[in-house]
Symmetry: C2
Subunit: 264 residues, 2 copies
């Protein structure tokens, strides 16, 4: 039987709320099984970009990462946020070790190619881009990797990469070795059957149900890429995938079901 | 016989010069023995502090690290600079892995206590603060640790710590296990016997000679703390300590003597 590994993704809203983050990190630190955290950004990068006069470029509603923005997010994500999370986990006796994808070539990506839009310094993880071998060795040393959503191409360039995607791809890569449970933690109680009814949390959602709800326009737009990453994971041998509320982590770990489970 | 380990400290002027840095990283990557890099800051933190309106506080000519400055240097040093160096070393086939002292509790410090000045978030490395065991394990995995000069107290706080001191303390800690050679790389050819004569590079300098030159006011003020850290290392069982010019790294590794050797 494979050993259990939790891969837990947290988002910007949690990172921006100091007290909530602290409570969450306490729940995370208490997990006894092997675990990895992947974290997103938060408002700090945008706030700093405004103050520094770095314009946020958008094309067709898609965010472009120019060089100034990349330099900024590398600092904020891989430096400020990552090291603060690591220091707070260390305080809670969790052997956290913070990484970008460049470190030890842990996550290799290539610049996004798109016929219509030049996204700038946005990287898509390459096939076999996750350095599984080394991550396994680090986990065996008892360490708890904490990943910021910065990758590299092994040609000297850093990239901005979606944190939900990193969590999904990493979960897929490590599923050969571990019994992986992927948790997307966010500020909702789970996937709502009806976006206008906060009580309508689905206990689980299958690929087919997702398609139907999506086509009926019933899902919150913001949740679509998250669900697509979650489905990508469950399709590719990740044992369990859930979307849960950040405050429910402890409850989920203990009772094996909070939020919405993603099924085939 | 103990295995050789180079601990190589680089400073801000090198980091600020993209071409020079790239050449240096190529020379560093080519070193075949085990190696560790410790890097300082550079002008970026000051430039950003100016743009963000973060005032640089000084008391009696000593720099104070207030919370805003700490947040900024954690981002710039442990994020921007560290990850760019790591990505560039990876490009050069060096298995670089970037760290702050908080990561895996690699460097534990405590807030500087001073009866007269509150230095703010400045940390002094504690006795046994260097996590030797884990650094040895990482080196055995073939990895090349790259340290930014950010430490933590295991109570959730990050600190700004002098990079020269980190290099010295780390060299001392690892000397029980390795034959450590500590190299301080900077923009001078070595220690000058007369600060006004660039040709007066000393081949070596002993503790006694240092005291004499210091008392005679012949040494450049900026080099004093570096030399004190270098002497601290050689006093505490570090096998060899040199101050060399950044461009001379390859030459020094191959010919075993560029710059000034620090002796007892």
């Amino acid at each position: 039987m494979k050993e259990k590994l939790y891969i837990i993704k947290i988002g910007g809203a949690l990172i921006d709320d100091e007290d909530l983050l602290d409570e969450f990190l306490g729940q995370f630190a208490a997990i006894e099984e092997k675990k990895i955290m992947v974290h997103g950004g938060g408002k700090l990068a945008t706030t700093l970009a405004d103050k520094l006069g770095i314009e946020q470029k958008m094309i067709d509603g898609r965010r472009i990462t120019d060089k100034d923005t990349l330099d900024l997010v590398a600092m904020v994500y891989a430096g400020g946020i990552n090291k603060n999370i690591v220091a707070k986990l260390q305080q809670k006796k969790c052997k956290a070790i913070g990484f970008s994808g460049a470190d030890a070539n842990l996550i290799k990506a290539k610049k996004r190619e798109d016929a219509e839009i030049d996204f700038g310094f946005v990287g898509d993880i390459t096939e076999k881009g996750v350095n599984k071998k080394l991550i396994v060795k680090l986990l065996k040393l008892g360490l708890v990797p904490v990943f910021s959503a910065i990758t590299h191409d092994k040609k000297g360039h850093l990239f901005n990469t979606n944190a939900d995607t990193i969590a999904s791809v990493m979960a897929q890569a490590l599923s050969a070795k571990y019994d992986v449970e992927l948790l997307y933690c966010f500020d909702k109680a789970g996937v709502l059957e009806d976006v206008n009814n906060p009580e309508s949390v689905l206990k689980n959602i299958s690929e087919e149900e997702f398609s139907i709800l999506k086509n009926e326009g019933k899902l919150h737009k913001g949740i679509l890429p998250k669900l697509e990453n979650a489905l990508g994971a469950i399709r590719n041998n990740v044992n369990k995938v859930f979307l849960i509320k950040e405050t429910e982590l402890k409850n989920h770990i203990e009772n094996h079901h909070a939020g919405t489970e993603i099924c085939l």
